[in-house]
Amino acid sequence: MFGKQDRLTGYDPVKFRKKIQVIIWLVSLAFFLLITRLWYLQVVKGDNLSQRSENNRIRIQEIKPLRGLIMDTRGNILVDNQSSFDISIIPEAAKDIKDVMNKLTNLCDPGKGAISCKKASFKSGRPFAPVRICKNIDRDQLAVVETNSLDLPGVVVDVVPVREYIYGEMMAHILGYVGNISSSELGKNVYSGYRSNDIVGKYGIEKSLDGYLKGKSGGEQVEVDVAGRRLNVLGEIKPVPGYNVVLNIDADLQKICWDAFQEKAGAAIVMDPCTGYIMAMISRPSFDSNLFNRGISGDRWKKLTTNPLCPLQSRAVSGQYPPGSTYKVVVAAAALEEGLITENTEIFCNGTYRIGDRTFRCWKKKGHGTMNLHRAIVESCDVYFYHLGEMLGVDKLAEYAGKFGLGYKTGISLPGEKMGLVPTRQWKLRKYGESWQKGETTSLSIGQGFSLVTPLQLLRVYCTIANGGILYKPRLVKGIETMDGRVVRKFPPEKEIIIPISRKNIDILRYALWGAVNEPHGTGWALKRKEKDVCGKTGTAQVIGMPQDEEKPDVKEVPYKHKDHALFVCFAPYKDPSIAILVIVEHGGHGGSVAAPIARRIVDGYFNLERKRKKCED
């Protein structure tokens, strides 16, 4: 019956067989199409897609290294690594996230500061990836969370290493602080090896020695599933911790300086004049480096940046002041070395000095009478130096200032160092388009006028005189060590230049500086100890140009902003000096009465410390 039309139903098998034949071809074609595509994916693109499946499954996770420690010269730790605690929730394990969050908030006694959970997004699509809900909880909160961990499914505590600045404000300007690398920093060449989310030094030693401190990240290759759950560790490269940095700073001495300063604004630096090592360096007002640890709050940052006293600025290296009378040693050295005067050259001071139509006054109204160089430095006679300034001229003065290291950066390993200013004729012409006035040289010769120095530069001048003529590079960092104490790099004292001033002339200045403290009428009388071993010079730097021909008003009546800066620079002992100290009190008033007592406390503190340490060693 096959092949014949069924009369009853009208079924024509031949017609349908032809159709089915066509459909068989079509179906085969469809299968061929699928097979072709499968062949393309599996055979042609197989390797490529295998790679993509590997990328799916294997994640490289960074292991952050521990940052190096910072220590003082005696091995006391100044910056340590501490643990900070974050709370995260693993959505898959928590099940009811809202409930867990509520429990977490209620558990902590509101009086002690409840755990504030930020509203985190839990819809990442990776239910095993922890979502951080609060940062930096304190230890009380941590204890509460840990003891109740059974009631808090899915809550995990992450330990994040943070910096602990043990001395807080006291060393903030030296040590600086750290923070997350910013996008603008990432774009810079200096930070080429860094990745976003890295912690970098933002200021101070943390910034300038970041390369040593940061260490090397390690990594692990982890097999993860689609939810981000770690299944296997396939390989691991251990992180290399950062190097420790040893400073020349003596923490005890730093504390002595800090305490001696009390609440005044200003800076103090203690340096070893024979090595250039910086033993202490403070700047006030200061800030607490620890504030920056987990990101500083907007309010606090605003408070710091809008404070008119600029606590973020390190006055010791970035502050620029007129040197005042402390500059006189430079003028004297220049005049001696140029042969314009000898130590016996006498000049009469009647209290005034006329140049052109201007009259300049000596600080002592009645005048000092006949003075030689020694007495002029001891009593800080202005008129004597007006004469020397006139003899030398501005450019000779600038030349000698340059020899003493003024007018350019000292190269200390801290960011933000300033150059100061050594004015010359050319400089004035370039800057103001005006020629140099004779009276300006007169101002300059007592450290006023255009002249600006940083405290560090000024201290170096006195170190050079103290050590007999060697200009050392200031050394804040003593060395770099590995974690187990192996020395990687040393920073020995570095002579920058031997200044071209004869030993004889330097000795004249040294003796004069001794006299300024220990002889009658010496301006630095405050430093007169029974050992008679301190040499020093006061300075009172005018903030605004007082009309020279008028009488100075009483110190107490001048508003704070217009008050003079009080300066004192000294070194001790006279023979074989071991420390040089600079103290500057911003708007403090008179150098001899404000800055010198602070210096005295530092000197006394230093020698007491030495004595105590020696006793301990014996």
């Binding site: 017609k15 469809a30 499968l38 295998s50 993509r52 499946s53 499954r57 599933d225 689609v226």
Partner: protein, 379 residues
């Protein structure tokens, strides 16, 4: 009940021995072979389960058993009797769809499941077979009359009611699947070229209109199909992960239980819609080629049954069921290898799914029915 194991129209209550002699063992073997591979594959796909998930291969075995029972019922009763009850079957199926839209369970935002005595059942799967049966009946009845506009309206109504009800669930994939089945059968039954052109034009006007009625996620799927990388973690995720799984299998595959895409669960829906991707990843091109070959043999075998069918009813029935299987294979595999959008059509006998398995087995029963009765003369 005396209609069991009888032939003809119930007048001769007599067991025909030829029925056993002509039983289609090849068809049964092919279906069981594919289902067996499917279970092995499900075992691997469910090997690394989350707590919230269920290992489905044992359940699939029970669905196969249930399906086999349905298969026996479907081939025992003469297909003419079944086709005679086509409208009843159709109406019951439509009613079930109605029930779903009122009482159905909502899973992933669509209402497709009806829960009866603790069992979830998908009436839209049943509708696939019901539409075949009703179309067989309609074409069978109206062959000689030709396809006048009035007939066309009736046809479109028959297909349109379930189509719109399934679109509303929403399950665009299954609704389109009904359309594809209808068109395949219409072409086979000999619907005129003119009518086809008219239907085609209507479709072209209708399709853009449909766009406005689509839910956002459906639009998203179509756009993502056109460019999967446009949203790699969202809508494009399924297809990208599936292509990676298939391709990374390479020539020889990663080995059973060793497919990283599967075992680490980067591949979504691996026990259901994307079961084929699991197989492709773990068995490679070689395994896929063998499986595709078995599938092709199954489809050709079905077409052979249609071709050697004794009458139009049998030919249409066999053809319809074969197309059911064929389009399932073509659309599902096309979907997991990125040549069709993700539409949620299961791979016949391979993807997990009770409704799908039972309905398909019943369909195979119908095929056997036609196959074993082709030598029996009609009284």
């Amino acid at each position: 009940m005396d209609i069991l194991i009888l032939s003809g129209k119930g007048k001769n209550v007599k067991i025909d021995r030829r029925l056993f002699a002509n039983f289609d063992w090849v068809l049964l073997g092919l279906v069981l072979l594919i289902s067996g591979i499917g279970i092995l594959n499900l075992y691997s796909a469910g090997y690394n389960l989350r707590v919230t998930e269920e290992h489905l291969y044992t359940k699939q075995m029970s669905w196969i058993l249930l399906g086999l029972i349905m298969m026996v019922i479907a081939f025992s009763v003469d297909y003419h009797i079944i086709i005679r009850h086509a409208y009843l079957i159709y109406v019951v199926s439509v009613l079930l769809l109605f029930l779903v839209s009122f009482y159905g369970n909502i899973v992933h935002g669509s209402q497709r499941w009806l829960v009866i005595w603790g069992f979830s059942f998908q009436p839209s799967e049943l509708m696939k077979l019901a539409i075949i049966i009703v179309l067989v009946r309609y074409f069978d009845d109206n062959m000689e009359k030709g396809y006048y506009p009035a007939n066309l309206v009736i046809l479109l109504t028959i297909v349109g009611i379930p189509f719109f009800m399934i679109v509303r669930q929403p399950d665009l994939g299954t609704a389109m699947f009904l359309m594809v089945l209808f068109l395949s059968m219409a072409v086979f039954a000999g619907i005129g070229r003119k009518v086809l052109i008219r239907l085609g034009l209507g479709g072209m006007i209708f399709a853009p209109l449909c766009w406005f009625f689509l839910k956002d996620y459906q639009k998203e799927r179509i756009l993502t199909f056109l460019n999967p990388e446009r949203d790699p973690l969202g809508a494009g995720y399924h297809i990208i992960q599936s292509i990676i799984a298939v391709g990374s299998g390479g020539v020889w595959g990663k080995g059973i239980l060793k497919g990283t895409q599967t075992q680490l669960r980067f591949l979504p829906e691996q026990q259901t819609d994307f079961a084929f991707s699991v197989f492709a990843e773990e068995w490679g091109f070689v395994g896929v080629f063998v499986l595709m070959f078995i599938f092709l043999v199954l489809v050709l075998w079905g077409l052979k049954i249609a071709r050697y069918s004794r009458d139009l009813t049998g030919a249409l029935t066999a053809f319809g069921v074969t197309m059911f299987v064929f389009w399932g294979i073509f659309i599902n595999i096309g979907m997991v290898i990125g040549i069709f959008p993700v539409v949620g059509i299961p791979l016949p006998f391979f993807s997990y799914g009770g409704s799908s398995m039972i309905v398909l087995m019943t369909g195979v029963g119908l095929l056997m029915n036609v196959s074993m009765r082709r030598f029996i003369l009609q009284p």
